[in-house]
Subunit: 327 residues, 6 copies
């Protein structure tokens, strides 16, 4: 049972437009707070294209007012089985990539060392690397990677850390197990024809959007589950995995991708996997005056929370049982 | 044959951007005008969430300039078989829910007592109740209810009449027959897990969007037709039944719902039922700078008109025949 | 000296786009917190015209990220001489004016009874009445009222409490002293020619925008100071006192009014008066996709804070001296 | 005393967002209606630059909901001394300039022949010529011309009728008396250095914005009054006479011009002149998502109506007296 | 092998937001340049409805920064097998349809006479006729016509050349072979019920969106290939073939049409046909503040380029072989 | 006499919406082109606040279509006395400040070494330093600095080069002479009270906006002229020197500043000074859907060009005379 003080604001009592905006109206607490799941923002652009993802966390918070306590497909509310709070944003220095990467790693590590896990909102896709590094998994984890682009470039202009290289960095540093990694929704025009080689050469599974449609959602889900298996797995969702019609507020919108329905169905299909943490990235509010992208970002983030919470609850219960047994 | 004076402005003669905006460019007449079908606005928000549905009728009128005389799927134009005019907006007192509900009821009743029926544009979804009450059906009617949300709350903050309670009020007051009622497209995160109980307990059919997809459009149409049967039926369309990508200009947009194509196909599939009246609600123009939502609202309203007109024409013809026989 | 924990987030350390948005990046505390000045939102529309002021507090918080610690014209920072925090929003029931008015009164009274004063953000202009009533001044206070409209109607549709009647209610209930009240910037087309009679009949000073220009800012300041004198005074700023070019995001924008520079100069000219509290109202974010109106609202709110803080600090010091003397 | 049926909708009874939008909420009547002043739209672009002025009348109608019955500076309401109605839009053929010019002339002539005058909303500035020609003044009239540009080109691409040539056409065809014509607010970068020669060579007065500021509003008013004298005068207001900050929704916005306050003061300063008709042009709504430009257009149009109505009323009274005397 | 000087700017070296915008960042050359494929704009509206398509080329250029060198489905880059450049816009006289049609014809003819073909961006759909006429095919070509509307009206207001008549003009003047013409995606409400007769009477294939869905994409592709066969074929894409959700920035948006994914899949399915040239029309940027429509327009234009380039390359090679043989 | 090939596109022949957008429609040439004045973009954000200035050059080019050949206040056109072209953007590496600063310096130096000077468009205000360094003045130049903020911080987060430190860097590196430097329009809330000390301690003149108003424009001009004297002078214009109402599309908009008219008058008042180069910075298009800010940016850039051109022409003539004499 969660601490009553740690539940989201009840929108049936306090209207949704009221009070400062936090993720899903959860309490905004110090990073040292004792909760199970930390909702955090990582407001950083590595910025090689259209600007603005650093403003993502603020607007996702704003639009998350519209998300309610229970997922559409039923089941327990994450807020009923875990304590969940908005622990604010990771510190960043907007003009310094190197130091920002370190600061983000340290911030997340300070959480993970205390036993918390994270569901985070970027920032551009470069933030997945320091977040995952901060989580400091004991062994390489599986990864489900939703994206229009492969994100496996070696570098951009000689810099290793940015929004197009994150996946390669995660492999190189042993954060993810390439054989338990699957990229979903890849499409869009390409800089080079060999941009998918890194996946192939490293045993990473790539489900292009062409294949996504051929397989259909059910088989895509099956395939993702097969690839990542039972081990601990991280889910990262670049909002541009969606068709541009669902994410004009992003740096590199690509027509011809997933609908939000596709995303919801596939994410819900991952229930039961050992999803340890997740993020949604590349929401750039200045580029979308309708806030549609941030609304979708908030809903994706909620799906991620619904995937992460049951495992956290289970581990807590197991630890409780062990603690009880130890008495 | 309709009165020539009562046809919409001919967009092949007078460009669509010209003249004041009325619903589908029909003449704007006094509420006492002698027509078959009254197109009316009901510019009222009960406003428990994001603002602006009171501006819906004005912007739906504006975007309805783009709708032409015949439905895409052919058949007679509603304007050829009925007289149709814009009878303006129901009176409301924006700061007084109780009196506004009464004013709307009276306004619609003054029409229905003269034999007119309505196709209306909200306002938020709370206006369906007074409109239907004003239509004063002799017995409970069937209802086809498109929506993301169940709208069967008992109250909000103790108030019985608002945009989340309308369906329950309609049942309680005998305006609709719950066993001939079907809600289509329900989805979105939920305040409570038992929010679908009222449907179940009262024998109302609920087709969630999950079920919608499983069944496919053809079977959804069949199922709706089975539920409402041959009796008189009202169709209410909350614009948020559509995926948020089609209705950012609404109070509670939910990703993952129907496309406009889904809506058109299903609505057209209801042809031949005894649809006595209809409404489209929850279009909030200030929240959508592209006017996409109002465009969709105007098109839905036109589909409703195309569903209502044939029955009206048939009844007129029957009355004419009876009158002739009586001579 | 203020409690270090109660200072705003330092934008030179933590970038302005980071962290949840509160008023001027002050800490968000419970309404029971022990501070000197409560920054609060009052997210309520009485809504007789264009929608959306209920969303004002959220967007003013967002844009207040851009305001820094010191006023442009120098002097001490309000955050250095008082403890200031964001105590969240007054509770409201969006569909119930009567109860909302009571809830706002109670909320503010719970603050004023503990010795706090408020600088608040509406909501539409109807919220000034319950805020002032909640402050419960011991005797009628002076009022400086910036507005395009007189706001002295008796009622709207028979309802006494709304955005056009507030000033009359404040007079009738003895909250303000009409002879120490001055309305500044009145202009705009008028419903009736006698709409300025209430001012005249009750001895309230009205400086139309025509007179504002004739006098010039310096004399306007003098005249305001003359009218309100040395007694305790409340400042209410309807954002539509500004020319429409500075506030398209408001319900009733009127061309031909004050610039933001005018507003800043006049407000700064009130320094030294006994300004006990203040509010800025009628910012409606959905109507302004550029957020210019909310930016101006945030800056006005900061000017009000700079007017209120010195008096609060002085009274604290005096109480401290008395307490010391009593030892 | 005006016919009660011909007054605008009372916004104190029927909220401003309700009912189809007409100019100032006046009744929408057939062009054959018997009123004193016809408010008309002329939805035509001659289109040599940025698009959209053809949508001006629709959006000016929409924003004119916010204008009330009496001018800010007091005096009788135009609606109390004249009958005023929205007689719809002049017919145009959007793809045919020559025929459109003829259609507009005929439309206005059909009004002027019945004794009506017009206050009209463009369309781009090319429509002033056919409107004035339709009014068929018995002798060349004076003209007050607010604009950033001189509009005296001979032709554009060989075509004589467009938004940059209107003033020359009016002179050439004897519609206006160049010696009683004054252009106010001219500025902006220039295609040629001799673009002001036509004014000089024809004895037309040109008050550049530089001179406007040097003189100050009061002297500008004096000078306009001196130039046009007591004779019948037409006022045309190109919205780009205003600084671009007041009219981003126009084809050729120019920074550094009049504020709306300047416009209001100068227009009000023309009271008492024999203003026989007027127009506001170049409002292009698609270019201004905030609707600021259309709001300003509606307010300018109201000022024009307030200038035209007293003369109309006076002539009516004189005719009534003559008719009485003749009995 | 293409001339190195003629490749697009490399976005991996020079960021995409840098440098003036040309189509796909290709060099902007004089119309006399010696390249294989001319990317051109045709900035002309025939304007019978909502304004702004004349601004299409500029904004499509801007959004085409986001398109990369290779199509998502792999294969050679058009820039590697042909020389491709932005040859600027066809000359037009915005106020003169007749002369503009001639100017566009001459401009394209000056290219086709030198052996260049075009991939062009409108302008409204009326520009397809002069472009095709300028290409001066030796015999009537096949046409694949994506559109919501039939575009086979005889005239509008007596004018033969505009955005609703182009297809009929192309048939009448022997530019296209009606038996090798197929219109795809037709839907939307209709002015008349017989608007599809011209297709039937002239042996043109019409695949309504209803049929599109029944057939499914694969069969639609088959059917298009069957109709146009092996002969030279022109592809014209009216952006309103897409569902309004993908093209709010167009004159006549219609809900219920193709997604961008549909468009991409069907266009890619035409590979191998003898596509000699193509255009995308009706992108109207002022109507879409998110630029989603222009982004889609740029992506469609790229698909067209990918269809046109292989045939051009093949013909070049064949000519080269012949030239070599002739040595 | 300028090379006919180097004049801007003639908007009286080729409509302004046509052709790719370059600065003032001048030809886009290689950086090695032989012209007098290089119009360049510097698309770089140092980004410590709201995002997007890197998109400034593209949108300023777009809006500069609306600027004509001659300044409003008459005199020769810069295009008639100098050769002026758009030489594209300085190279930058968006994720690397240090290297970008070097690249910009080298790019500008490659121009200045060939005798060209620049009028440039940022980018945020940090780009002024490398541009000026690239111009490599032989001795410290005077500077006229329009801004809301002092821009004399020592560093931000330890980094020396960014949009708040540029002025200090320019002083430290001897690029500008502090005693010939004047900052105009300083205002806005402040991080620290001593933020104006650097100016005072280094003998730089600071005209706050308060002083600006006290002096009036004429005296401000006098004072600027007095400070910078006859020596070579650089003008840098941070767009936020303008009131926020004129520049919502900027990172740190501040209400209460100069109007565009103020800016135009003061800039024109600098005619005759030895203005060697200039820039306009901090236009961030994603933050301003109306493009008002970019329009103002384009007009400011034109004023700068009009200030720079006469001196360049004079030096050319002098060199020509010397060359002639040497023969």
């Amino acid at each position: 049972m969660s601490d009553p003080a740690l539940v989201p604001i009840d929108s049936m009592m306090i209207p949704r437009f009221s009070q400062p905006a936090t993720f899903f109206r959860t309490p905004w607490l110090e990073p040292t707070a004792d909760v199970d799941i930390a909702l955090i923002g990582v407001p950083f652009d590595f910025q090689s294209n259209r600007a603005g993802a650093r403003h993502g966390p603020a607007q996702i918070r704003e639009m998350s007012r519209l998300v309610r306590r229970f997922n559409a497909n039923g089941g327990e509310s994450p807020f009923d089985i875990c304590t969940v709070a908005d622990l604010g944003d990771a510190p960043v220095i907007p003009i310094d990539i190197t130091r920002s990467v370190q600061l983000i790693i340290q911030f997340v590590r300070s959480l993970s060392e205390r036993g918390l896990t994270t569901v985070s909102a970027g920032g551009d896709h470069g933030v997945t690397y320091p977040v995952l590094k901060g989580l400091a998994p004991k062994e390489p984890v599986g990864m489900v990677h939703f994206d229009a682009h492969v994100d496996t470039y070696h570098d951009a202009w000689g810099d290793l850390y940015n929004h197009g290289t994150l996946l390669r960095r995660c492999v190189e540093e042993g954060l993810i197990d390439p054989r338990r990694t699957v990229s979903v929704g890849i499409r869009g025009s390409r800089f080079t024809l060999d941009d998918r080689d890194y996946h192939r050469d490293n045993g990473m599974r790539l489900i292009s959007f062409d294949e996504f449609e051929e397989l259909g959602r059910a088989k895509v889900i099956e395939e993702i589950r097969r690839v990542v298996g039972d081990g601990p797995t991280y889910v990262t969702f670049d909002i541009d995995a969606l068709d541009a019609g669902y994410c004009m507020g992003t740096g590199s919108p690509e027509p011809g991708g997933m609908t939000m329905r596709d995303a919801q169905v596939v994410l819900r299909g991952l229930a039961g996997l050992d999803i340890i943490a997740g993020d949604v990235c590349e929401v750039s509010p200045p580029l979308d005056p309708t806030n549609h992208t941030a609304l979708n970002g908030a809903n994706i983030m909620f799906e991620l929370l619904c995937l992460v919470a049951p495992g956290v609850a289970k581990r807590k219960m197991a630890q409780g049982a062990m603690a009880d047994a130890a008495k």
